[in-house]
Amino acid sequence: MKKTRLLLALASAALLAAPASSWAQYYAFGKNKVQYDTFHWLSLKGEHVEVFYYPEEEPLARAAIVLAEESYADLAKKFQHEVPRSVPLIVFSTHHHFEQNNVSPFFVPEGVQGFTEFMKGRVVLPYTGSYGEFRHVIHHEMVHVFQFSILEEVYKKNRRSTYVVPPLWFSEGLAEYWSNEWDAQGEMVVADQVLEGDVPAISELWRYNGTFTIYKLGQSLCEHIGKTYGDDALRRLYTEIYKDDRFERLLQRVTGVSAKRISEDWQYALKRRYFPHVKDRTGLTLAAEERAMSQGVNLKPVAVPDTSLFGGHRYLFVSARSGYTNIYSASYKGRERDVKSIVRGQRNAQFESFHPFQSRIGVSAKGQLAFVSKWSGKDALFLMDLATKEITLRRHMDGLIALSSPAWSPDGSKIAFAGQSNDGQADLFSLDVASGEVTRLTNDRYTDADPSWSPDGTRLVFASDRTRFGAEGRHNLFLLDTATLDVTYLTYGKWTDQTPSWSPDGSQIAFASDRDGAFALYTVDATGNGSRVSRTLGTSLDPSWTPDGKSLLFTGYRKGGFGIYQIPVTESRSDSFALALDDAAAPPQWTWETTLARSTQPAESYEPRYGLDLVSGGLSYNPNENVGQGVQGAVSDLLGNRLFVFQLGNTAEKSSDILTRMNAGAWYVNRQHRWNYGVGAFHLAGDYEDAIGIDYFERRAGASIVASYPFSRFDRIEGTAQAFYDQKDRGDGNPREGFLTTHGVSLIRDNALWFGTGPRDGSRYNLTGSVTTNWNTGRAENLTLSADLRRYLRISQWTTLAMRVQGRMSNGADPERFVMGGTHSLRGYDRRSLFGTRVFLANVEYRFPLLHHVVIGLPFDGLELPTIDGAVFADAGNAWEKFESFPTPKGSLGFSLRTNLGGYLVLRYDVARRTDFKDIQPGWHREFYLGFDF
């Protein structure tokens, strides 16, 4: 987003040269995609894949090229296709580094493990600490590479007026199907859908686009098609895509069966598979009691050991129930009982992310909360005194980028945690709280996660892929002797055991395991003998003991959401097991070195290779509705660090003006460092209309510099400087000609939480100052100051009180004039009907949902209406000139309807009545508008 803004700033720099507009006119908000680290890139060239990496992560790069070439060989057979170019694979050693990539202009959510970009076919992915997952993601993205390549080839050979794009369920489902076995995540999502009666037909799958569910539903459906009609049918759905206008008809052409019939067969097969579960398992809500359930994402519960704290019997958990991810406390004596926010995340730099799906939280016997949060580009360990809510420790760990799952030792003197270093290696560490000394507990390329202390403090139990089945992505539990650092197996098998938690009396270790398909809760003693806690439907994760050791708090997945549940741990058990190391049936012990030894490619330094990002015509480049014809485009290097933007156009009306009315500009933008900057030169000329409707001609030629420095994801400073020769003629016999400079500085903050039609929580501001100087006269052409402050007060889950205050002023020989009126400023007044060199504006509106998920039955057979939000508002503001005294404010009151169109556009309808703050004037003023809420 930051890059997007920089481009906007550059564009506005061009415009600003133009004509009576100033940089201050371009209000920019948005969060920052921060390049905390500067990477020095190298590459390894394979036969089909070229891996780009930085020196610290060379082992990962070597593993990546081996795995990617393996994937290529496998997929070349499955697709019967060769990709006609080398596949660029950009590898980051951690997700934190991956989030800094410049290939995509967008923020990468934590759940995204990699992506394949269409324009240049680049695959970008991080190493998240697990070899098995790394292999899976590489294979998944390589499927996308083949998909794009085949589509490109097929459409090139068979040109059509319109192209069918395979639906997401198919492209992602096939990538999952051909890269991974059916796993517990799929079981979690699909079994829940089946048992809740929510499995959609193929024609309805689009409703799940943008969610993880679509991956697993798609995988299930692709597997069904592959096993029923042959895997080659899946390939032919790509090679024959040009033959039909709709994907569902293509499905029928390839399989010989209608999509409706395939849907029914698939749904029936799923029912046959999952309905028998109901017979011998208890429903989650029957076996366990509901605790925190609101809004579908409640994770990682941990009971407070001191049952007297906070009124007693409380637990902490991480939840995104408000839209932001916070740490909450609640009483486990009831459902949704006494829920309080303890640490508010995603609003400021130090609590940027709690990694709710990766990291547990820990509470000491003395009431100290330990958690990790992303702060300034990497994770830090935070300690908070729960009684005083004071942060007592905030610490980055030397050499560690990602941290997770801090666990207090029983005596409260140490904290064990998992950490991932710059080279991607994920190990266990221990922090001595008093001395601050950090001790490394494991040191190898196996993944170690989720440590939990034995009550006597001599051992840790943790999950690791060092098991013989680890190369396939499986994890088992291990015990670590903290004195000798010896590691021994606790569980063993071709499945995943994770998130162990040692009981307060030390007799049992609770953990989640997918040995029976979906994740369920088990306990095991320190010798490896264990059993299942309860045979329940659905998925159970993250068990944590209550202080009395008689029950477990855990995360349960049901009806598409994660909730906190509590289940008693009784003596009557099922599915007992004992630790049996059946070596003969297991694969040999694996190591990274086996894979690394297969990469012998020499490292080469990265030389930027440029490719076209976009070219478009009909350039529109002036906010005052002046439009110039022309083209604009952008060229960037493979890593997206260096970008060239150009534009070319002409506003000449006769041949003699071609040169003088040439509009051309070129800018270079560097995004490799935390400082993003751009430099460029431009020549712009044309006829314009200013804010008060006066026509004029202006021509500018010069150079500009734009720079942006993010302090964090939420705050940044931006600056611009321009020097240009300027000719301006208003036709009043007083033309201006001279050498001008413009400087501008903006301070911007934005931590707003967005819903479909606009922000609903948080705040943002933009403080901007700019000065334009005429060096021929020494005169300040204009000095412009502006402030725009917005605050969103959450009244309830779905309702918000939004407030905005704006003030702007411009002085000088040629001051900027601001306009006001219309839906984006002062509602009830015509657009641009108020103007002056000074303006102020205040808006207050109450936003609420009006129609959500409304489905009309007859006669539309289940037509779902778009979501419609409502608002009631009051505005006040006015504009005036320097020589005028402060005017009486103009005001309006009204209501508004808003709906999101396709995710990218908001249609608004405002109805307002004017007021002079004494009376409400007659007559309604209505306006349609396309744009997000302020």
């Binding site: 070596d583 003969a584 600056g719 006269t777 020494g778």
Partner: protein, 312 residues
Amino acid sequence: MVVAALLLAAAGTPNVLHASPHAAPDSTRAPDSVSAPDSARVSSAALAADSARAADSLRAAAPRPLAYVAVETRPPGLRVTFGSVEVGWSPLPPTAVPSGRVRVRAYPVDSRRFEPAIDGLTVDAAPGETIRVSLDLRSHPLLHSEPAATLSLLARRDDAPDSAVGVTPLRLAPAVLESRRVRFEANGFADSVVPGAWLLDEAARGKGVARVALRSLHLPPPAPPPPPSLLGRKWFQLGLVGVGALLTGGAAIIRHQGDLAYDRYLEASDPRVIEREYDRTVHYDRLSAATLGTGQVMFTAGLFFLVTGIGK
């Protein structure tokens, strides 16, 4: 598939596997030089009962040419399998197997204890070829140092670079250590170079843990960082911003004086006044431009130094 191939070949040539799978380890010492085994020394007795039954059912299949695989393990005396067929205890002399891909496994003594050693290899054996498989399943000693130190394997030759392998505590394979020297490095402590064999001995005595205490250099505390240059000093940066802002404001005042002089010039009728006020206007304009330019440069530079920290 590997198992099936093995059984298929075993069916055709029953006397291919070693005769003493359950013999005491010491009695199966591998020969120093590998040669094709004497067929008189092998019998079908080694076949497990289930594999024999399977072999019977496949007896009609054509035999495949033989290859030979010898297995050594460290420590010796480990159970060895080819595919799923147990063939004896290590060290295993060259043993005939059907040529092709063979999975060789040796089983660790205490399988509960995690060791990162590879305990199996898949080999491709060409007909008539003898392959020697060596598996090192010795416990990886844990190298501890006080304080934690960077650990490097010293190169065997002077012209080759040393290899940094990690930070202690660290487990390293005995095979890596036994013939190399290791250097421990930590800030404020003398580098310690010790033979890997000594570390292995220490580990054997210390239940798998070898501890090295580094000698402190008793160095004086590190010198404080040099003071920032003038450009990096906050007062200077703030001064630049402040003076820049003052000069910019001053330029406006001077400019205003120029405007007043210009107004007097326009209103004047006395030629001397006209000339004087015109000169004043030009003077003020130039002074204003210079003041403004200087002010803006100082303001921008100050802000730049403040934000970037350049100069520190």
